[in-house]
Symmetry: C2
Amino acid sequence: MRKIYTIGKLSKNTGVTVRTLDYYDEIGLIKPSSKTSGGHRLYSEDDVMKLERVLALKYMGFSLEQIKDILENSTSNWQESIQHQLELVKREQERLKMLEQALLGVSYSIEFEGEINWPVIFSIIQLYQHDPGDVLEQYKEYLNEDEMKKIIDMNAANMSEEDIKEWLKVIGDIRNNLHLDPNSEEAEQLVLCWANQADKMFGEDEELLGSMWEALQNLQEGIAFYPMDKDVINFIKRVAIVKRESTNDS
Amino acid sequence: MRKIYTIGKLSKNTGVTVRTLDYYDEIGLIKPSSKTSGGHRLYSEDDVMKLERVLALKYMGFSLEQIKDILENSTSNWQESIQHQLELVKREQERLKMLEQALLGVSYSIEFEGEINWPVIFSIIQLYQHDPGDVLEQYKEYLNEDEMKKIIDMNAANMSEEDIKEWLKVIGDIRNNLHLDPNSEEAEQLVLCWANQADKMFGEDEELLGSMWEALQNLQEGIAFYPMDKDVINFIKRVAIVKRESTNDS
DNA sequence: CTTGAACCACACGTAACGTGTTGTTTTATA
DNA sequence: TATAAAACAACACGTTACGTGTGGTTCAAG
């Protein structure tokens, strides 16, 4: 009752294309165990089993060369191979997480600026090109471990879609009005909005806000808290100084 | 003060290989804006800017063809492209999550069976080849919405590494002793261990355990709760029946 | 024995370059 | 200014896992 399949039947049964079987034969991965006198390939059930194993390993992300190696060398260390694959998968997941964040950032940036702002995009990408832990590395002079953790958590989970949009809108408004006189009403209004939003995000943790602000001020370039760049920070600083002075005067 | 770069200088400044710039020139993505009389390529600052944009888009996961299209057609819809990329990234993340689970499953399987058990591997892969929601689809006759959710949560988070290993060990033990007489002491002991572990996992929710058990019994093939297959389930069932009868007898 | 379907073998194409070769241009040094 | 060294251009082939297409051959049904 041993079944024998022609390449076409095998293809239909497994969903693998004839060309693929052709290729596997060509690279010596799955050679049919017999042939007709005319040269047509005949696959035994053993061959079918091997094909299924190949497909399983392929699904697991191994290359055909690795699969060949694994199936031929019975001495090969399975656990090692699989742990290696797991490592790769985990790294790729990390990369994709970063990438998703970056894409979201770019999307927000376009939505709120109305056009492509390349420097911002570069900054975002630069920001996400390293590990998530490394992103805050630049602030380590100003923030302690505890504060860093809080900020990471805040970025990841605590902020809702709405919060993010609000935050971006506020900063977008500031970016569009960098030319405003720091003494003007409008400028003060903008910074007030910003301060409110910042308070909302940082909650009651005034100390954290203070440390963060100090860190931001000393930033040389790049963006800090997503779309805030040096220009925005300087604008806020200028307006704040003006306000403090006028408060002192009165 | 307009700077002009030879291909080598540009390569050093941007970290892009000469061959890559060569290729970008060849496919018309970045053509140098001038050349020396001898035919050497000279890149202007505009070219450098374009290169940086290309690199940014490449990081975002676009193909060179898409990039060409995006940069050439200023009418192109950025948001659409980025949302599309986001979709791709999310799908890929889903896939990798599944893959990670499958690899973990295979790893556990090898660890506890000591060798490669291909049917188990096939089952695992089959199990994770669909959406996570679809996995439990086959039980929908026996489980209600609520119960399904509980099980999904349990699989994902509630089980620690230790729990999983315990669970696998228990089932591995049963698999290795399927030949035991259902009346024997050893068999009873094995099933007792299994029941304890199941209780631990399902907590006090006896009802859920009941529904699940019913679902498992009616399973035709494949694996249900990771490494439990029909053989294991039948073994447990047989032992349980023997035990119940002997309890009734006494 | 014919005919249509299945099959084999071969070739070229894909994406984004890496690697290597040969011949030419530029640059630095004597 | 002559020459050697470095940089460069242009081309070709290789990579992965097949898809697509072609022409000739074999198989299975009638």
